[in-house]
């Protein structure tokens, strides 16, 4: 018996939010950071972002075809684009094109779709791709970093950074033939190595650090980080994510580096930790990836703190210059366990039911 009226269950009203809108907002929030990167370090990042985006979309379309899913429905949620943008930002500006392609395609196929697509992956796809290329192509990943433009003032003359076409050439020639004038180690790396021999004051007189107003910051990088901070705070205001994760990442990292960095002659000071490298990008854009992070409020704080501590540990005593990728991946492992043990209290209950569900057994009855 068909009825003249449609039968749908409640609720009938919807707030109008959509996943594609959220992803798009996150991408837009990275724009200030991208502008800062381009200003200080040249066209490399933009080219990488474009390359990564195209690769990501093609890869996702291919794998959706293999999985026999409707392509446009899944592509339009912008998640592939977001992963590509984050990878484009995170990878060194002058990394050869194949490094980018490998990173992006691996993250799309292996770190996302093989687990079932969006929402089902346990590990942050961008960071999986990054970690893969970092370990597989260490030379390219460490020597392709650009040095900020102000370091070239006076040496080359009018040229401050490589031009667009020259950047394209470097990236697509596939060789690591970047001249020493344009490449450079990151400030964190530099400080760490120099700290073995020089005092803090001596290090900070060096060219990399003297470009900034205040010697406690690293040239160019602090603006990039501040730009990402601005973008992150905008997302916070739009309630895309909650304050728990970014706050605890920064707090943990800051606390650790303050404790150790008291002795600035031996350890990297906290200002460098917070305002160089991928810290702000990591805290606001990578660690907050909702699919792979913890979901309970207390769990988010523990998760973020874990990332902050691991970033500090790997940076200080590990072999890699930047540790955000590994820190995030390691905490991704822990997220389900953290969730199980940090359930919040529900209305009407005295305390929370934490831990795994217990099965009633015979001993309960006798007791």
């Amino acid at each position: 018996m068909s009825s003249n009226f449609v039968n749908i269950t409640s609720p009938h009203a919807h707030g109008g939010n959509s996943t594609s809108r959220i992803m798009l907002l996150v991408i837009l929030a990275t724009v200030p950071g991208i502008i800062a990167l381009t200003y200080f370090f040249g066209w490399g990042n933009l080219i990488n972002i474009a390359l990564a985006s195209i690769t990501a979309i093609i890869c996702e379309a291919l794998i959706l075809t293999i999985r026999k899913r409707p392509i446009s429905f899944f592509l339009k949620d912008n998640s592939a684009l977001l992963t590509a943008v984050l990878l484009g930002i995170a990878l060194p500006p002058f990394a050869p094109w194949w490094v980018t392609v490998v990173a992006v395609s691996f993250s799309m196929v292996f770190a996302k779709h093989l687990y079932g697509g969006l929402g089902n992956n346990p590990f942050n796809p961008a960071m999986v791709g990054y970690a893969l290329v970092l370990i597989s192509f260490p030379v390219q990943m460490t020597t392709s970093w650009a040095s900020p433009f102000f370091l070239h003032l006076g040496t080359i003359g009018a040229e401050q950074t490589l031009s667009f076409t020259e950047s394209l050439q470097v990236i697509f020639s596939g060789t690591t033939s970047l001249s020493d004038a344009f490449s450079g180690a990151t400030p964190l790396d530099t400080y760490k190595h120099l700290a073995k021999n020089e005092t803090a004051n001596e290090i900070l007189q060096g060219p990399l650090f003297s470009g900034s107003e205040n010697n406690w910051f690293a040239g160019g990088w602090e603006f990039v980080n501040i730009a990402f901070l601005v973008g992150g705070l905008a997302l916070l205001a739009l309630r895309i994510f909650t304050w728990h994760i970014p706050f605890s990442v920064l707090a943990a990292l800051g606390t650790c580096s303050m404790i150790f960095g008291w002795d600035a002659d031996l350890y990297v000071p906290w200002s460098l930790h917070i305002f160089t490298g991928a810290t702000m990008l990591g805290a606001f854009f990578i660690a907050t990836d909702p699919v792979t992070a913890s979901t309970t409020p207390l769990g988010k704080i523990i998760y973020g703190a874990g990332i902050g501590i691991l970033i500090f540990v790997i940076r200080t005593w590990g072999a890699y210059p930047d540790a955000v990728a590994f820190a995030v991946l390691l905490m991704n492992f822990a997220a389900p366990l953290i969730d199980t043990y940090t359930q919040p209290r529900t209305y009407g209950h005295d305390k929370a039911n934490r831990g795994l569900p217990t099965k009633p057994d015979a001993s309960d009855k006798e007791g």
């Binding site: 449609v6 039968n7 749908i8 409640s10 009938h12 919807h14 209305y347 009407g348």
Partner: protein, 687 residues
């Protein structure tokens, strides 16, 4: 207005209110419908028992169904007319199940029951009346909660052993579109407050808080003004609360006004609070002060498909199509829809929702009636409340967790529901979900979360029922096993005891026999040999012959007695049939027949015992005479001769049966020899 500290509950959403459409006009009276469909189950608890029959004429306010059991409510005729049918019809419920309904054809006279009309039922000094009288009146008038759930008010008010310190009146009406409580408070504030006074008296609460959302300033003002008129009451306060969905939920309102939380799986009375809707209060006033039962309610009819959205006072049982007709229902042309290009296939038909957009359910037809708890009929257009898009994957963004007023983790509940992990869902307190829909409202992937939770709650209930059934079966099985084991053990124990006793007797026998052997003859020796070859009968051999004789005597006596009784019965029966009188002899007949039965049983028992005894006893050695042996010998010789003949014949004809016959012959010759030996022995012994 009294200022009390307001608390707040976690979560909540702010959907568009859309209330202004239906508050432009005063409450209208719906014209009398031609037919009313009145379900007997409009409340929580047992359906009411019908007290009228088909063809009865009823007056307005007459009881047509009485409450069944403690948690139940009465049903009354909303207008005068005739009962034309009492049958199963589809109920306005999300399940779409059917239930018994009383179909009433109205006669247009709208005539009240006489005792209500002349005011004889009015309780004038209700604030001094006995509590029991008031509660009985509320029960008799079929008052149930009018906020949506429909719990029988008389049951809620019968607080008995619990102390109530706060009475909370729910005027929040947090769902979008619904304005029936708003209009009620604006126009009938005084009656509502008088009802509140009655409830205050029944619960003997120390204070009463009326919670009204701040999007209803006119209602707040009207209630405040009415409160001034009732100068006796200092305990009632009107409290303005911030507008947030779902602050009208009982648990959430209690938290806002008092800061206390209702314990999970408990009721507000557990923490000394009773909560009632404003509509229920007004109904209580009319019931007590005028004797009028609950037969009508204020319902909002709204939505873009309604030409004149408004609030209407409808009789219970009015079909929805009367309401739609009155307010004007414009259906969208399907051609227009096609031009617009609707997204999903389900949207080609119009939608009628009973309730609000967040928790209301759709109706499958407009013939379904208005119930005591139907506060709104919402007929949205496609554009106004579009159906959800196809759900995409959950990105675990946590917006649902932020919105949940019960402080649950809806996201985890969704994953557990999908995976069928019912134990984890239960541990994450899915039972505390109030199904308000805030999580689905905010979900960016447009996942219909509440549907998953409803399904999982049902699955958990099913699983628990199956588990209980299997537990009971297990207990029964184990008890049976234990019983069988016990019986086997007892049997074993008896057998052991018998064996031990037998051994003991055997040993004693051996000792005695050894003694007797030297004195006695060959016969006794043989007797002893026989005895030792069998175990059990050995102990009973000596007393056996005596018992056997005694048993035999008893059997004879019993058989004689049985015969006597049977004769007597036959005699009685014969005389009775002669006289043709059935009465007097029958009593004696019973007695004699019983005697027959008992004696028969006794005979049977004795026969059985004798058979047993005979079985156990060894075969008595008969005195064998010489003639017997000679007779046997002669017979055997004859047989032998015959067999010899057959063998010779077989030899001649070369038959196959020859070897068998030969064997038979040999056996017979053996037997012959034995008999001859016996004879010889006999002679020797005799001599």
């Amino acid at each position: 207005m009294q200022t009390i500290t307001l608390h707040s509950f976690d979560g909540g959403i702010h959907p568009q209110e859309n209330k202004h459409q239906s508050t432009q006009t005063a409450i209208a009276q719906l014209p009398l419908p031609t037919q009313l469909i009145i379900p007997i189950s409009q409340h929580i608890g047992a359906p009411a028992d019908v007290t009228v029959s088909v063809g009865d004429s009823v007056l307005k306010g007459q009881q047509i169904a009485k409450p069944k059991g403690f948690i139940s409510a009465a049903i009354h005729a909303p207008t005068s007319g005739k009962v034309v049918a009492i049958e199963k019809r589809e109920l306005p419920h999300s399940s779409g199940l059917e239930g018994i309904c009383i179909i009433l054809d109205t006669d247009g006279k709208d005539q009240w029951l006489e005792e209500i009309n002349n005011g004889s039922l009015a309780i004038n000094e209700y604030l001094e009346a006995d509590n029991e009288l008031l509660i009985n009146r509320i029960r008799d008038c079929g008052i149930t909660g009018m906020g949506g759930a429909g719990f029988p008010t008389a049951v809620k008010m019968a607080v008995q052993n619990r102390t109530i310190d706060t009475l909370i009146i729910n005027g929040a009406e947090c769902e979008p579109y619904i304005t029936s409580d708003d209009m009620l408070m604006r126009e009938r504030a005084l009656e509502t407050l008088r009802g509140v006074q009655i409830l205050l008296k029944l619960t003997s609460a120390k204070s009463c808080l009326i919670g009204i959302e701040d999007n209803k300033p006119e209602a707040i003002q009207a209630m405040e003004d009415a409160l001034h008129k009732i100068h006796r009451e200092h305990h009632i306060a009107v409290v303005k609360i911030p507008t947030k969905y779902p602050s009208g939920g009982e648990k959430q309102l209690i938290k806002i006004l008092t800061g206390k939380e209702v314990p999970s799986a408990g009721i507000p009375a557990d923490i000394g609070i009773v909560c009632q809707n404003v509509g229920t209060c007004e109904a209580v006033y009319h019931a007590v002060a005028e004797g009028k039962p609950l037969i009508s309610r204020i319902t909002t009819i709204t939505g873009e498909s309604i030409e004149q959205p408004q609030n209407v006072e409808v009789l219970i049982g009015t079909p929805v199509k009367d309401l739609l007709g009155y307010a004007g229902f414009k259906q969208e042309k399907s051609l227009f829809q096609k031009l617009l290009g609707s997204k999903s296939k389900t949207e080609s038909k119009p939608r009628i929702i009973m309730g609000g957009p967040m928790m209301g359910f759709t109706l499958s037809s407009d013939e379904l009636p208005i119930l005591k708890s139907s506060n709104c009929i919402l007929a949205p257009s496609q554009k106004e409340l579009p159906a959800n898009d196809i759900a995409s994957a959950c990105i675990r963004c946590g917006l649902c967790t932020e919105a949940c007023p019960a402080e649950l983790l809806p996201q985890q509940l969704y994953w557990f529901s999908k995976a069928g992990e019912l134990d984890k869902a239960e541990q994450h307190n899915i039972a505390d979900c109030i199904e308000c829909g805030a999580c689905s409202y905010v979900c960016p992937s447009q996942i219909p979360l509440v549907q998953y939770y409803r399904h999982t709650k049902g699955a958990i209930k099913d699983e628990r029922a199956a588990q209980q059934k299997s537990d009971r079966s297990k207990i029964r099985f184990e008890a049976r096993q234990a019983r069988l084991d016990r019986e086997a053990a007892e049997k074993e124990a008896k057998r052991q005891a018998r064996a031990a006793a037998a051994e003991k007797a055997q040993a004693a026998k051996k000792a005695a026999a050894a003694e007797a052997l030297s004195k006695q003859t060959t016969e006794s020796a043989e007797g002893v040999d026989e005895n030792t070859s069998t175990d059990a009968p050995a102990e009973t051999k000596n007393p056996e012959p005596v018992d056997l004789e005694k048993l035999q005597k008893q059997l004879d006596a019993a058989q004689a007695g049985l015969k006597k009784s049977m004769d007597k019965v036959a005699e009685l029966k014969a005389s009775a049939s002669e006289d043709g009188v059935e009465n007097a002899p029958i009593e004696n007949l019973d007695v004699f027949e019983k005697a027959v039965a008992t004696r028969r049983d006794k005979v049977k028992l004795l026969a059985l015992q004798i058979a047993e005894a005979k079985k156990l006893a060894p075969p008595v050695k008969k005195e064998v005479s010489r003639e017997d042996i000679e007779k046997k010998l002669r017979a055997q010789k004859d047989r032998l001769a015959k067999t010899k003949e057959r063998v010779d014949l077989a030899k001649e004809q070369g038959l196959d049966s020859l070897p068998a016959l030969q064997k038979g012959l040999d056996k017979q010759m053996q037997k012959l020899k034995e008999l001859e030996e016996e004879l010889a022995q006999f002679d020797k012994a005799g001599a």
